[in-house]
Subunit: 427 residues, 2 copies
Amino acid sequence: MVTPPRVSNDVAALMKRIGASARAAARELAVADGATRNRALSAAARALEQQADTVLAANARDMAAAREQGLSGAMLDRLALDRNRVAAIVRGIEDIVALPDPIGTVIAEWTRPNGLRIQRVRVPIGVIGIIYESRPNVTADAGALCLKSGNVAILRGGSESHHSSRAIHAALVTGLEMAGLPPACVQMVPTVDRAAVGYMLSEMTDTIDVIVPRGGKSLIARVQQDARVPVIGHLEGNCHVYVDRSAAVDMARDIVVNAKLRRTGICGAAETVLFDRTAVPTHAAVVLRALLDAGCEVRGDALLQAIDERIVAATEDDWYTEYLDAVIAARVVDGVEGAIEHIGRYGSAHTETIVAEDPQAAERFLERVDSAIVMHNASTQFADGGEFGMGAEIGISTDKFHARGPVGIEQLTSYKYVVRGSGQTRS
Amino acid sequence: MVTPPRVSNDVAALMKRIGASARAAARELAVADGATRNRALSAAARALEQQADTVLAANARDMAAAREQGLSGAMLDRLALDRNRVAAIVRGIEDIVALPDPIGTVIAEWTRPNGLRIQRVRVPIGVIGIIYESRPNVTADAGALCLKSGNVAILRGGSESHHSSRAIHAALVTGLEMAGLPPACVQMVPTVDRAAVGYMLSEMTDTIDVIVPRGGKSLIARVQQDARVPVIGHLEGNCHVYVDRSAAVDMARDIVVNAKLRRTGICGAAETVLFDRTAVPTHAAVVLRALLDAGCEVRGDALLQAIDERIVAATEDDWYTEYLDAVIAARVVDGVEGAIEHIGRYGSAHTETIVAEDPQAAERFLERVDSAIVMHNASTQFADGGEFGMGAEIGISTDKFHARGPVGIEQLTSYKYVVRGSGQTRS
């Protein structure tokens, strides 16, 4: 059983202690081999299984407080755990164990004319701060991904899920202890004082190498405002499907409906569908009626509103909006160039897809749209590390710096150059 | 002839204009092909050749002002241009033209079981800000590296080299115009007002994707203090050579002398030599006398001072110091573990080398030292993009985020995922 650190009134002193022990743990973890890290993860999964009752009791406390505070149904759903969800968290950790060890991998190697042999070798980044909101499973996912990639994690979850996260964290610490690794390899900030978030973002430049924020607009805005520690940014996913005149009508319908409605709450869900002007009579009616019939609200421009009386008028704001709900904006554009322009102006550079049989239109879209993920004839809902075959991920980066797209264990690493010589000096 | 923008008293308004035109230029540059970018670079090299007299006249103005201000000899040398140095700048641009185009390269590709074909494709980062000090050649190097990698550059040079940099910048703009690219692809901040640096670091998060600072400690400290834009950091190079008991004595001597004295002013120059305790009688005397005889000041611990009366006493500060001069600190450590510990405590994680015949000692050092570049039996002065075969570089990153070690054209890129399907929807 882990004794949680006493909550200090002095957040700065508390965070300094956490940072110092994270640095010390990082030095030990950097030289632990992959088998040891996996042993810790497997033991954590077993501990979580065994401590499921404790986790569910902690979650019941969080849920009671959340209901008292009048949190929305969607918020309550994100917060809630049951036996199935705990089992899914355990499976998630086991999946991470099964991934290949990224650390020590030789990414590239070459020999210079003077005989120097140069290798670029994958190493951990060091200490990663994760700031997240109400989903307690992030505690396990983020902690496990960091540990797998040889990084120390400092987790700062939302106050709503504090008890649940703490119980999950205790299982991770059990795993670390059973593998002989420092418990400080995965630390949870033990206070719900929001000052801790500010301290992580702006004061811990010496101890945190990078921060991964996971949450909604207000968190992201705060991170953009305050961060002096490097950040792997996860902006919103205002994703687009563009239906070209050359698209197969059935394929366009299936892709748009899937991209919007398979799950509306994920960042890869489509938020706007764009129709080629010459595809309005042939494609738009079929696609939009399918959405409407499936219960989706459609907000269209004047041309598209004429198709069906259920379509309401879109405003300029709609082009910018990530609904994360069964609502879609719909607009007519002038061909692939018009789609590229609309996406460049209103999009969030996350994921966009073109439905087209014309290969030239497709290639132009794939080349010119500057988003983390550009797709041809596929649903935007594939924007996911697992679906990409990269394993579990901590999110989808809309940054161009360091990591873009799914952030899996490989993206949580850095590299160093190892140079082997035989006495070379430089002339 | 380029008309330089009028210097505005309102730095914020000026920088906003520069940022907006950089963004617009980035959109155009992102779709220009490699041949066009090379044409611009070749034309810039020719323009610089032809405008050499103008550049030298501008440099004479900078030099006169610098002498008046009483700048040191080393500062004056960094600032000075002559025909040979201009010719070297021209050759530098031509070397960059000859590098392979990084943009559009497929870094990785794979096919998923559902038939989705995924490619990770190299793309420019976007807009790169370079903040540098007195060397006017950085204007050409940084501008050319950014252009080669499809990035727009915003250059902010030191006030001492303002006229020289402006004349070199004019040649780059001529090249852009001759290739039909927007002149705003390489912009120079036209004011020496230091407020412009602060504005770039903290206010241009929407327009600058990353800042590369090149300069001394005060610049780096300011960047660490103020930056809210992502930074590729170049800290100092407090580089170490560790001489193991198993080292060949002649090799140790040659490597240490080369690592320290070949050029003392570069970041890859060695600043501390560490001797295995059992190698003091066999190796230290030979190595240290060779340094002393070559005119190097040696600051040693008590054990090493006993070797030669010319060795002065080192203080704790010496272990932290990047001399960038013909001075070296020397210390006895307990074997490879002692060396790893010393480097971890005092080093700047730039470049370290072990001289050893014992392969186990070497591998332990290469694995455990957490620096951008770790070497075995080779001089630290090889820490250089050109020597690594990566072509020209903008510096050596001591960050672990995004890029580590030499920052060449490849490190100035990001990537996107291109996904090709045949109608796949996610189940």
